[in-house]
Amino acid sequence: MINDDRSTILSAIKASLAQAASARTRGGLHGPPPSIAAPPLTNELPKSAADRRDPASTLATAGFQTALDRVQGVCHRVTSDAGAADALQAVIADLGVRRVVRSDDPLVIEILERVIGGFELLPPNADRALLLECGIGVSRATIGVVEYGTIVLSSGDMAGVSGAPTERQRLVSLLPATHVAILASTDLVETWDAALTSLRSASGDLPPTATFATGPSRTADIELELVLGVHGPKNQHVILLEHR
């Protein structure tokens, strides 16, 4: 039955396209034919002047912070791993959470080790009921996009640019009310498109799932009033490591 539908659909499309083509050669009902052959796509996308910056520069990190600010995210720019741990500690203390869940990324683990306790640290494969109760999730952002303040969260054994072989971060970055992403400034790219391209490995493979996240989750479904934090995180922090 399924195969049946497949051939039905494909032959219906072919028949329709053929009919449109023959109408076109007859100079059909609707005037001259539109140019169906699209102009070749170039990699040149509409860009702002900012695109010509060197991504690793201070301008890029400042740009990322400004963009994240605009979407109610918080960017902590730090210049050492100790600074990153301090920033993380401050976020945890501010929110007064008792449980923190982490992803598998070595850098995330390393920074968390420097944070002085007072909370229970859960691994990413902790019981789901515990994860749902967890206050903060800490994971690695594989790419940061300067133009929008976007972080890219990729899963699986193809975790992108400099991630661990298998970073389990999907639930860590999604279930807790606060998500803290660790981002190295060398992983910054200017545009969304560049981030998409750099997700592909040398062999052209893509990670099983990649989420481009820009700020905390939001809705305007009740009288178009903006509310931050619906199903995804209510707070989005990015700790940007300027020394890495």
Binding site: L41, L45, S155, R168, L174, T209, T214, T219, V230, H231
Partner: protein
């Protein structure tokens, strides 16, 4: 009620369609003053946000033509791209299914649900699942579908269809939503939007944790890599596609784009056109199920490709433009008709200008012949369309089809007695008009009669109610004041005439 198996010459099916009652639904909607107030406020807000967002883009028209050409190219070789997509996605471990019609798509999803012993399915907002009536099919099989988009959840609890492509509960006031939740959940509710949203977060978390199946739509299918992209703000799509063991996505065949790099321009333009954000909160690119047992994410991913009458639209370059639509809903927010009557009056899950062209082409003219008339042809919808669909052109084409029937499909609206009667009197009217305007003498004669009638009717107010065939015309309009004499005989016309040509 589901249509029989589609053969390629038959039209598709839209669930809960009652667009044939358009003439009755509109006065009801217009009488609802609160609805009109809510709509005017809401659509104005989104319009302004959109306009501001697009001012920030340096080369909007360039971006727009890029988006348009991507979709045009995809449609011109739709069969090839679909086959490429199937090959790539299958290689990635995604199960690809083909559904020629709504019935077959529902059956495929139901089959997957039953095989996985589903009792509870969480759903991300998907217009196509509304189109095929998936929720009713699941309920009939004893499976509970729970909508997880906030607006969609609200209309599901209210047992109403969505009234807007993007903001399903746009027609509801906050107080109404509070009362609804208080009644359904049987406890007092907070007054503010933030409080109500928090309630939804809590209620739905439980469902996410338990559901065996997650159901979503898809914004774009990438042929080159066999991936698909989902765009959202709330995070409910991420949950729907991460927590349950099995994920099923249903997508119309027109959602395809050839290459991965095509996503950039489309993502750039869609959210700006839709909500006025520079970019949505989340775009999730799904390429394969989890690769190792310890990983997060679903073990199984299914993708259902739905035709349901879409392939038929490719027969004509004009109607094919309809398939470029990326469902941003900018045309709804700008449309003077939508802004007055709201989404429910269209009697279709696809309302507004895009619904007025999509619905009759998918479900057949006989089911929705009045919708193409639901427009003043002002052209605002085309102006804001991010992929430049000639909506007014398609509307005119469909009006022609509604009046004349479509010989190619044998879809004759004459089957509908109401349309037939209307058509006949309309044709008679226009035949008379042509004759009356055919000579200057007749033109002057009927002009004089018209002026006389206008004077008489204005002086006897009760006559306006009994003006025969024109009575309904005067429902929404005042009878023009007679100027007393024709423009041609007036002083102004004389002055405009070149000298020496004054008529004796």
């Amino acid at each position: 009620m589901i249509t029989p198996k589609a053969d390629p010459n038959e039209t598709g099916y839209i669930h809960h369609l009652h667009a044939d009652q358009f003439d009755d639904l509109v006065p009801q909607a217009l009488a609802n003053v609160e609805l009109r107030g809510a709509l005017a406020k809401a659509t104005n807000t989104i319009r302004n946000r959109r306009a501001t967002a697009l001012e920030e883009v340096d080369h909007f028209q360039e971006l727009r033509s890029q988006a348009k050409s991507i979709k045009t190219e995809a449609l011109a070789h739709l069969d090839d791209h679909l086959e490429t997509f199937e090959r790539q996605a299958t290689a990635n471990g995604i199960h690809v299914h083909w559904a020629a019609d709504a019935k077959s798509a529902s059956a495929i999803v139901l089959d997957i649900a039953i095989k996985n012993k589903t009792r509870l399915a969480v759903k991300a907002k998907s217009m196509v699942s509304e189109e095929i009536g998936l929720n009713d099919a699941l309920i009939d099989a004893g499976i509970v579908p729970v909508e997880t988009d906030l607006g969609e959840w609200i209309v599901q609890l209210a047992e109403e269809p969505p009234s807007h492509i993007l903001a399903p509960a746009i027609h509801k006031r906050r107080r109404e939503i509070r009362d609804l939740l208080a009644r359904v959940l049987d406890r007092p509710m907070p007054d503010d939007a933030a409080g109500l949203t928090e309630v939804a977060r809590h209620e739905l978390r439980g469902h996410f944790a338990q559901a065996e199946l997650g159901i979503s739509g898809a914004n774009f299918l990438v042929a080159e890599t066999g991936s698909f992209l989902l765009i959202e703000n709330e995070g409910n799509i991420r949950l729907t596609t991460s927590l349950p063991r099995v994920h099923v996505a249903v997508a119309g065949i027109e959602k395809i784009v050839p290459r991965l790099q095509d996503l950039g321009p489309l993502v750039r333009i869609i959210t700006r056109s839709a909500t006025g954000q520079a970019i949505s909160c989340y775009q999730t690119l799904i390429t394969k199920p989890k690769t190792s047992p310890e990983d997060d994410g679903p073990e199984e991913i299914h993708l259902v490709l739905l035709d349901n009458g879409r392939s038929k639209l490719l027969e004509d370059d004009l109607t094919a433009e309809t398939l470029r639509c990326i469902r941003c809903s900018a045309c709804l927010n700008i449309c003077p008709v939508y802004r007055q009557i709201g989404g429910h009056a269209y009697g279709s899950v696809y309302p507004g200008p895009i619904g007025a062209i999509f619905t009759p082409q998918i479900a057949g003219m006989h089911a929705a012949s009045q919708l193409p008339g639901a427009s003043s042809l002002c052209g605002a919808c085309r102006e804001v369309c991010p992929v430049d669909i000639d909506i007014p052109g398609v509307l005119l084409h469909l009006r022609h089809r509604a009046a004349e029937g479509d010989r190619s499909t044998g879809d004759h609206p004459e089957g509908d007695p109401l349309t037939t009667k209307k058509n006949r009197s309309m044709r008679r009217g226009f035949r008379f008009w042509r004759w009356a305007m055919g000579s200057s003498r007749r033109f002057e004669l009927f002009g004089a009669i018209g002026r006389l009638l206008a004077t008489v009717i204005r002086q006897v107010p009760s006559l306006t109610k009994y003006a025969g065939p024109l009575a309904s015309w005067t429902d929404g309009r005042t009878i023009p004041r007679s100027p007393g004499r024709s423009f041609r005989s007036g002083e102004m016309a004389r002055r405009l005439r070149p000298e020496g040509q004054d008529r004796a």
